[in-house]
Amino acid sequence: MAAKITVQDLTMAYGDLVVMHDLNFEIQDKDIFVIMGGSGCGKSTLLRHLIGLREPAKGSILYDGKDFTATPLAERGPFFQRFGVMYQSAALWSSLTLAENISMPLEESCKLPPKTLRDLACYKLSLVGLSGYEDFYPSQISGGMKKRAGIARAMALDPDILFLDEPSSGLDPLSSRRLDDLILGLRDGQGSTIVIVTHELASIFSIANNAVFLDTATHTQGALGNPSELRDHSDNPAVRLFLNRGDTPPSSP
């Protein structure tokens, strides 16, 4: 059985600027996979490659063994339908209310009565703790609420794979904790695979079962594995430093 997502020899570049080269990792079904690294190291860029918004400079990305990057754009529909994406800036459609933001993709995917659409939107919003805000416009809610609404929209089509770009930045500790519960709930309740970009160490250790560390110094992947193990036993000092918040890492045995 092929892994859910396979990244092979991926090199990402903006023109001549190579952001990361030779990334190799696999994401298994029902993984909660964290992409971590310093600011500006290319985490969002990696996410954009995974969802096909940018083409790799080299290498390929496979979903369930099917080559995504080799598929022409016109035939990528079935892949896209499995993705739910929350962007770093939430990217809500500002001229639609929160409920419409969620029901618009639903409306376009299949014919549903208005009541069902509304119920679905309310349900997704209450999962992120935003029930009662269905009729607000994105400009009328706070930054953290936008983040959460962005997550609700990413879940609109019950995606198989959820990509979240820094979902917990801008959230208070309690909401952030709730978000962790939600992510676990989605994995256990719907069997989703979840790929998260995050710096939140507490949530990395409590929910992630696998992680990749992108190293700014070498422009390649610094480590791959379970975050708690990486913290204590990684042979890359940069990774230990990162996962210990800059404290002198305990010497690895």
């Binding site: 299949c110 009565p113 009541k115 309310c122 009662g132 009729d135 400009s139 256990d188 719907q190």
Partner: protein
């Protein structure tokens, strides 16, 4: 995947004294058939769920249950959590999350439908408000000009040069094309009529006077409304949507001096130059038609020059800075008043172009009236 079709989703409510049970069966899928509900939903949460015959399901199922739970009266005080017995574990987990935060009361924005009278009243008030806003904006522009004259207005000179270039040199191609065609059209229409009287040569007077006095400046103003007025509104409007204007303010810049003033100055400076240019290109267009119908260009030119007094020639140019100011003010004002969404920026741009063209035409009529009174 089973080859048999999905059994349709059903929900059955049963009430037995205090106990309410909800029996869920079939495959609850978004793309599948609609749910058939039997019995009426009581105004109480189900005490028990029967899910033995439940097949596969997506979010439609928890959404259905949650929608019912949300219709119930908000629990007052400490209440035991809503029972979710009988639901499969995965559903129970998700529903508990969804119910964890109570619905935010009072958070609903006012969505009461308005009566006819209220609609008319609101429309009147908003017209009055936008009139006031216009006066206010013009007042601010004058104050800002005053600060500029005393050297106290702060804006980036490099921005000013870029704006100058955008509404000057970069507008030349479109102004050339339109003015040339207008000259051509005037000459065509004129020469057909004048030929009846054997006064072919007077087409030069016709084109010269109408270009210089009206068409040159009005067409340039209309082009600039669509081109530059719209650009001003879109640029300032999207800055507003991104909180960029607030950022300027917190750094101690007056957004008005910083954004609006250089744009008004640039357009006021460029409009006369563009107008003179448009006049000349329009006359050249007329000359081409003249040449085609047998008037030598040299003769055409002397006739044009002879027909234009310095007063006539200066009228169009005199009006142009006023038109420039009107266009810049319309564009910037709509941009500054735009709402916080991308759609609002679109609306602001539309309003900017409409306001700019309207004010140009209204101003032109006012000038025509004044010039007639003064007998120019």
């Amino acid at each position: 995947m089973t080859s048999s079709p999905h059994p349709p989703p059903t929900a059955v409510w049963q009430q037995d004294g205090e106990a309410v049970s909800l029996t869920l069966a079939g495959d609850w899928l978004r793309a599948g058939p609609a749910v058939s509900v039997t019995g009426t939903a009581p105004d109480r949460a189900p005490t028990r769920y029967q899910t033995d015959a439940l097949g596969t399901h997506d979010s439609t199922l928890p959404a259905f249950i949650l929608a019912h739970l949300r219709t119930l009266k908000a629990p007052t005080g400490d209440q035991p959590p809503t029972p979710l017995d009988g639901l499969p574990d995965n559903l129970r987990g998700l529903l508990q999350l969804a119910l964890a935060v109570p619905e935010d009361g009072g958070a609903h924005p006012d969505t009461r439908p308005l009566s006819r009278l209220e609609t008319i009243g609101n429309a009147t008030l908003s017209t009055w408000q936008s009139g006031l806003a216009l006066v206010d904006f013009i007042g601010q522009a004058v104050l800002s000009l005053g600060r500029f004259a005393r050297g106290r207005a702060r804006f980036r000179t490099s921005d000013f040069w870029v704006t100058l270039q955008q509404c000057g040199v970069e507008a030349l191609p479109i102004v050339s094309l339109i003015s040339f065609l207008i000259g051509l059209i005037l000459a065509f229409v004129g020469s057909v009529q004048l030929a009846h009287f054997g006064a072919d040569l007077y087409v030069a007077d016709l084109v010269g006077i109408s270009m210089v006095r009206e068409m040159g400046v009005v067409m340039t103003a209309i082009i600039m409304s669509g081109r530059t007025g719209a650009a001003f509104a879109a640029h300032i409007g999207s800055m507003k949507a991104n909180e960029e204007i607030d950022a300027l303010r917190t750094f101690g810049f007056d957004p008005f001096d910083f954004l609006v003033l250089p744009r008004i100055l640039a357009l006021v400076l460029m409009m006369p130059i563009l107008t003179v240019y448009a006049d000349i290109v329009g006359i050249l267009g007329g000359m081409l038609v003249g040449a085609a119908s047998g008037i030598p260009p040299v003769l055409y030119w002397t006739e044009t020059v002879a027909s234009l007094h310095i007063t006539t020639a200066s009228l169009g140019v005199l009006k142009s800075p006023f038109f420039g100011a009107a266009i810049a003010i319309s564009g910037c004002m709509q941009g500054m008043r735009a709402g916080n969404s991308s759609a609002a920026v679109g609306e602001a741009t539309t309003r900017a172009v409409v306001t700019a063209i309207t004010s140009v035409i209204v101003l032109d009529s006012a000038f025509a009236a004044v010039f007639t009174l003064l007998d120019i």
